[in-house]
C-alpha cells in the first residue's frame, strides 16, 4: 500500500464510505507520484504555456504547435528510468512505445524519436556499461521495427547514476490541424480496448516508479512488442483519417485505471466497463490486476454507435485484438464491473485528481560549500588534456549509438545525427523542424537554477546552429525523493530556472514530465532536467551543419568567462566537483542568438556550432573533425574574462557560438556584429591538418587524425571491448 494515511482519510471522506480492495488499487495507481504529479503540480503552473503557435499545451498526451499551412506538430517526452535500471532492454523499449502512443493519442502520426540517456561511469563500472549497451539495443530494436526514425539525443555519464540510469524518450508527430483529437465523448458511446492482451506484466509499475529503487522488481517491467505497436499506429491513423473515433488514449502508467479515469475526467462524463470482457493473456487475474496491469501496446478508443463498425473493420484489417468493454455515461463515475458484479464505483474526477502533497524545500548546505573551490594547477601538456577531453565518454562521438538506430526511415531526416547541433526533419508543408534534447547534471547539481536554465539555453543554441528559430519546448525534470526537502528545493530551483528563461525568451512550454524517486541503493541522482527545444526553418537554404570548410575564417560570438564549476574539464580531468557554474543572462543570450540567426538567415555562415560541454577547444575540434580539416586559432582574439589558458579552452560559459565564414563575407558579418553590439572575435582560420591553439606561443597542437581517433572510437572501444 503506497497511499499515505492522509490520502486514505481524504478518499474515505470523499466517498463517504470505506473503499474496497479494487478501488484502493485503482486509486493507488492513479495517485502515485508518477501519474498524479501530486508534489509538482502547483509549481508547474509557473511555466508559460501560451504562445502564438500553441494549439494545445501541457495537460494532454502531447503538446500541439501550429507550423502553418494547416499542419501541426505534436511533441511529448517521457522517461522509463526505474524499469530500465532493472531490465534495460525491455525498460527502454517500452519507454519508446509509450511516448509514441501519446503522439498517436492526439491524432497525429509519429515521425521521430529522440532519446536522452544517463548512466554511471562506463569506464570503470561494468554494470553501467551493461545498462548502456542494452538500453541502446532496446531503443534500437523497438524504434527500428516500428519504422520511426530515432534522429537524435544526448548521452551523459556521471557516477551519481551508479546502479541506475535515466532513459528519456521524446517523440514528435505531424498531422493536419483538423485531425487533432482533443477527446470528446457522449452518453452511450462505446469504449473499445484494443491491442495487446492484458497480463500480469507491469503490475504496480506506476507505484514502482514512485519509490526509490531498492529491490529489483522485474515483474513491474513490461514486455515490448514493437510489431503490435506498428499495427496500432497504422490502425489508429486509419481511424483518424476516416474520423470514426472521438477519443484516443494510450494505456501507460497505471494501466486501465488511469486511462479510464483521466479520459472520463477530461470529458466530464462517466465510464462504465465490464472488465471480464477484456482480452487477457493469462487466466485467473483479479479485477484489481486487470485494472492496474501495465501490459504494453494497448489503446483505448471511444466511438459512437454510427462509427463503431468502421473502427472494428479497421482493427480487423490489421488483425488487432480488441474488446468492447463498456460505454460512456453521464453520471461522472468510473464504474467497474466484473460480469454482473460491481467491483468499483467512484467519481472519475476524484480518481483523476489526487490530493496535492505539500513538500518542504530547504537549500542544501553543499550548494554554498561547493560554490568556491581551489583552482587546480594548470597542466603543462594541454595536447594530452584536449585528447583526453575528446575521448571523455560524455563528449566523445555517439556514433556507436546512433548507427544502431534507423535514423532515416520516413525520408524526412535532412540533418542526421552527428552532423550538427540538432537534427532537422522535412515537414509536409515544405518547412523544416529542428529538434534537440539537452541536459547537464553536473551544472544542475551545483546550481539547479542556472544549471537548468543553461540546459534550456544550450538546446536553443543547438537548434539555432542549424538555422532554426525556437518555437516551443518540453521539459523533463528528474530528481530523487521529493519528500527530502533538499531534493525538493533543487526541483523548485530548476523549475524557476526553466520558467524564467522560457518567459524571457518567449518560448512556451508545450509539455513535460516530472520524475521523482530516482534513487538507488547508492543514493539519489544528481538533479537532471532534460530540455527539448523545437525550432522551425522556413527556408531550406538556411539549414546549416557543423562541418567547417577549408579556408573559412572562424568567428567566436560571446564572451568566455571563468565559469569552471561543473565543467567536464574540472570533473573529468581534475576530479573537482565545485566552483561557479556558468550563468545565463537571458537578455544578453537572446541578443546573441538573434544575431547568429540573422547571420545564418542572411546566408553569411557556412557552419555553426555552439560552445557547451568541453568549451571552445572541444567545439573547434569537433567542427574540424566533421570537416576533416585543421584550424589555427589565436586565443588572444577570444573576448574573455579568464586569467588562464585552460579556462579559455575549456570554460563552458553559455551564449557562445563558433561560426565558419567564407572570406568574402567577413566584412558583412563584422558590420552586422558591430551593429548588434555583441562580443565577438575573429579567432582563426580553417586550414591544414592540425588543430592549433596559440596565445603568443603554442598552447595546443594536435593532428586531425589523432583528435578524430580519440573522439570517434572511445565509446565503441569501451562498450564492445571494455
Amino acid at each position: 500500500m503506497s497511499l499515505t494515511q492522509e490520502e486514505l482519510v481524504y478518499l474515505k471522506n470523499e466517498l463517504k464510505r470505506q473503499p474496497n480492495e479494487v478501488e484502493l488499487s485503482i486509486v493507488e495507481a492513479e495517485w502515485s507520484e508518477h501519474c498524479s504529479y501530486k508534489s509538482s503540480k502547483p509549481f508547474l503552473k509557473l511555466l508559460p504555456t501560451q504562445g502564438k503557435r500553441v494549439l494545445v499545451g501541457p495537460g494532454y498526451d502531447a503538446g500541439v504547435l501550429d507550423v502553418g499551412n494547416g499542419y501541426v506538430i505534436t511533441v511529448h517526452i517521457e522517461s522509463h528510468n526505474h524499469p530500465s535500471a532493472v531490465e534495460p532492454y525491455g525498460g527502454a523499449a517500452t519507454g519508446v512505445g509509450g511516448v509514441i502512443r501519446d503522439i498517436l493519442s492526439m491524432g497525429t502520426r509519429p515521425i521521430a524519436v529522440l532519446d536522452a540517456l544517463r548512466f554511471g561511469n562506463i569506464e570503470k563500472d561494468s554494470h553501467a556499461r551493461w545498462l548502456f549497451k542494452h538500453v541502446v539495443r532496446g531503443i534500437a530494436d523497438y524504434g527500428n521495427c516500428i519504422g520511426i526514425p530515432t534522429v537524435g539525443g544526448e548521452v551523459e555519464f556521471d557516477s551519481s547514476f551508479e546502479n541506475y540510469c535515466l532513459v528519456d524518450v521524446a517523440s514528435v508527430g505531424i498531422g493536419k490541424t483538423e485531425d487533432i483529437i482533443t477527446t470528446n465523448a457522449d452518453r452511450e458511446d462505446y469504449v473499445v480496448l484494443a491491442g495487446g492482451s492484458t497480463g500480469r506484466d507491469g503490475i504496480h509499475g506506476a507505484s514502482f516508479a514512485s519509490k526509490a529503487l531498492e529491490a529489483e522488481n522485474r515483474s513491474a517491467v513490461q514486455i515490448p512488442d514493437p510489431f503490435l505497436e506498428k499495427l496500432l499506429i497504422e490502425a489508429t491513423i486509419d481511424a483518424i483519417n476516416v474520423k470514426c473515433v472521438k477519443a484516443v488514449k494510450d494505456l501507460g502508467g497505471g494501466g486501465l485505471s488511469c486511462c479510464l479515469s483521466e479520459t472520463a475526467d477530461k470529458v466530464r462524463k462517466g465510464i462504465e466497463v465490464d472488465i471480464a470482457k477484456m482480452h487477457v493473456r493469462e487466466h485467473g487475474m483479479t479485477p484489481a490486476e486487470l485494472m492496474i496491469s501495465e501490459s504494453q501496446e494497448r489503446m483505448l478508443y471511444i466511438a459512437d454507435k454510427a462509427h463503431l463498425e468502421q473502427l472494428i473493420s479497421i482493427l480487423n484489417k490489421y488483425e488487432i485484438s480488441y474488446s468492447i468493454i463498456g460505454k460512456v455515461q453521464d453520471h461522472g463515475n468510473l464504474v467497474v464491473k466484473y460480469n454482473s458484479n460491481l467491483v468499483a464505483t467512484m467519481p472519475a474526477s476524484l480518481v483523476a485528481n489526487a490530493p496535492l502533497a505539500n513538500r518542504n524545500a530547504k537549500r542544501p548546505r553543499y550548494i554554498d560549500e561547493l560554490a568556491t573551490v581551489k583552482k587546480p594547477s594548470q597542466p603543462s601538456d594541454l595536447n594530452t588534456i584536449l585528447l583526453k577531453m575528446l575521448s571523455n565518454p560524455t563528449i566523445a562521438s555517439k556514433r556507436w549509438v546512433y548507427q544502431q538506430y534507423d535514423h532515416e526511415v520516413g525520408v524526412r531526416t535532412v540533418v542526421k545525427p552527428g552532423h550538427a547541433g540538432a537534427s532537422v526533419l522535412k515537414l509536409d508543408n515544405g518547412k523544416f523542424l529542428a529538434i534537440k534534447l539537452d541536459g547537464n547534471c553536473k551544472h544542475c547539481y551545483l546550481d539547479p537554477y542556472y544549471g537548468s536554465m543553461g540546459c534550456f539555453a544550450e538546446a536553443c543554441r543547438n537548434v539555432i546552429n542549424v538555422g532554426a528559430e525556437p518555437i516551443g519546448m518540453v521539459d523533463h525534470l528528474q530528481f530523487g525523493n521529493p519528500e527530502d526537502p533538499e531534493i525538493f528545493w533543487a526541483f523548485t530551483e530548476a523549475l524557476k530556472g526553466v520558467s524564467d528563461y522560457s518567459k524571457a525568451m518567449n518560448i512556451p512550454c508545450v509539455g513535460g514530465k516530472v520524475s521523482f524517486y530516482n534513487e538507488s541503493n547508492k543514493g539519489p541522482i544528481k538533479p537532471s532536467p532534460v530540455i527539448g527545444v523545437l525550432g522551425l526553418i522556413d527556408d531550406m537554404s538556411w539549414i546549416r551543419t557543423s562541418m567547417v570548410r577549408e579556408d573559412d575564417t572562424l568567428f567566436i560570438i560571446g564572451s568566455t568567462k571563468d565559469e569552471m564549476g561543473g565543467s567536464e574539464y574540472y570533473e573529468y580531468i581534475h576530479g573537482i566537483v565545485g566552483g561557479n557554474v556558468p550563468k545565463v543572462d537571458p537578455v544578453y543570450d537572446s541578443r546573441i542568438m538573434q544575431t547568429v540567426l540573422n547571420l545564418i538567415g542572411n546566408k553569411l555562415v557556412n557552419a555553426a556550432h555552439d560552445c557547451s560541454k568541453g568549451g571552445l577547444a572541444v567545439t573547434v575540434a569537433e567542427m574540424c573533425i566533421l570537416g576533416n580539416v585543421g584550424a589555427k586559432i589565436d586565443l588572444s582574439k577570444v573576448p574573455n574574462e579568464c586569467s588562464r589558458k585552460d579556462e579559455l579552452l575549456f570554460s563552458e560559459s553559455h551564449s557562445r557560438f563558433i561560426l565558419s565564414i567564407e572570406k568574402d563575407k567577413i566584412s558583412k558579418v563584422t558590420s552586422m556584429l558591430e551593429d548588434s553590439s555583441v562580443p565577438y572575435g575573429i579567432i582563426g582560420k580553417v586550414q591544414g591538418n592540425s588543430i592549433i591553439f596559440s596565445k603568443n606561443s603554442s598552447v595546443v597542437d594536435i593532428s586531425i587524425d589523432k583528435a578524430e581517433d580519440a573522439w570517434v572510437n572511445m565509446i565503441e572501444e569501451l562498450v564492445e571491448h571494455g
Partner: protein, 227 residues
C-alpha cells in the same frame, strides 16, 4: 503503367518508396495490402523494407507466405520487374524467388549509415540505364543484411551476371564478395539491401547526391520501352 508497392503488416518503407515514385518521379503508384490475390494492371512490383511480421521466426519468412506472394511469383515468372529492398529482399529470398540467405551482420548489430555501391550488372530493369561499375552513394539500415550462399551458387551468380550491386570497399554487412544486391536468372527480379528510396533526393543526402534515383528511372524507361 502503374507500379504496385506491397504492404505487409510491419512494412515501414512502403510510404517512402511511394513518396519517391509519386512525388519525385510523378508515377502512378499504389500501396497494396498483402491480403489481395490479384495484381492485374501493375507493370512492376516493389516489396519495401521494414519488419514484416516483426521479423518473427526469421526476417521475411512469414511474409513469404502472405496471400499476395502467390501472385508475385506468377508475375515474376512472367518477367514482370520486381524489386525487393532490404526486408523486401529478405522476403524474395525466403519465398524462393532469389537464391541464398541474408544472415546477421558481422557486427551482430543493426547498422544505419551511408556507403557506396557499384553497379555490377546492368541487364536488369532496375539498372539498365546505369553503366557497369558506376558508383552510387546510398545508405543501408539493417541487422540481417549479410548475403550468403554456398560457393557453387555464388559461382553461378557471378557467371550468369546475377550479381547486381556490390559494396565499394565499404561493406557494412560482411557479405560474400561484398554482395549488396542480386537478381534471378532472367534478371527481372532484383533484391538489394541498401535503400534507394533514401538516396533519391539531394536534400536527404549528406553529400547532396541523388544517385539512387537512377534505379527507379531505369525501371521507368524500361517500362516505357516495353510499351
Amino acid at each position: 503503367m502503374k507500379i504496385g508497392i506491397i504492404v505487409f503488416p510491419g512494412s515501414n518503407c512502403d510510404k517512402d518508396i511511394h513518396h519517391v515514385l509519386r512525388n519525385v518521379l510523378h508515377v502512378d503508384t499504389d500501396l497494396l495490402w498483402h491480403r489481395r490475390d490479384n495484381l492485374q494492371g501493375y507493370g512492376a512490383i516493389v516489396l519495401p523494407g521494414g519488419f514484416a511480421y516483426g521479423d518473427r521466426l526469421r526476417a521475411g519468412v512469414i511474409a513469404a507466405f502472405s496471400p499476395v506472394m502467390k501472385e508475385v511469383k506468377r508475375l515474376a515468372n512472367e518477367g514482370t520487374p520486381i524489386l525487393g529492398v532490404c526486408n523486401g529482399f529478405q522476403i524474395l529470398v525466403e519465398s524462393g524467388l532469389l537464391p541464398g540467405a541474408l544472415m546477421k551482420n558481422n557486427s551482430l548489430k543493426f547498422i544505419c549509415r551511408w556507403t557506396n555501391i557499384t553497379v555490377e550488372s546492368n541487364r536488369t530493369p532496375f539498372t539498365h540505364a546505369l553503366k557497369p561499375k558506376q558508383q552510387l552513394r546510398i545508405p543501408v539500415a539493417n541487422q540481417e543484411g549479410r548475403y550468403y550462399a554456398d560457393p557453387k551458387t555464388i559461382e553461378t551468380l557471378e557467371n550468369n551476371n546475377q550479381i547486381v550491386f556490390k559494396y565499394h570497399n565499404d561493406d557494412p554487412n560482411g557479405s560474400i564478395n561484398g554482395i549488396a544486391g542480386i537478381s534471378n536468372e532472367q534478371g527481372n527480379v532484383v533484391g538489394m539491401m541498401p535503400h534507394p528510396e533514401r538516396a533519391s533526393e539531394s536534400i536527404l543526402s549528406p553529400f547532396g547526391s541523388d544517385d539512387a534515383v537512377l534505379i527507379f528511372k531505369s525501371l521507368l524507361s524500361y517500362l516505357d520501352e516495353q510499351r
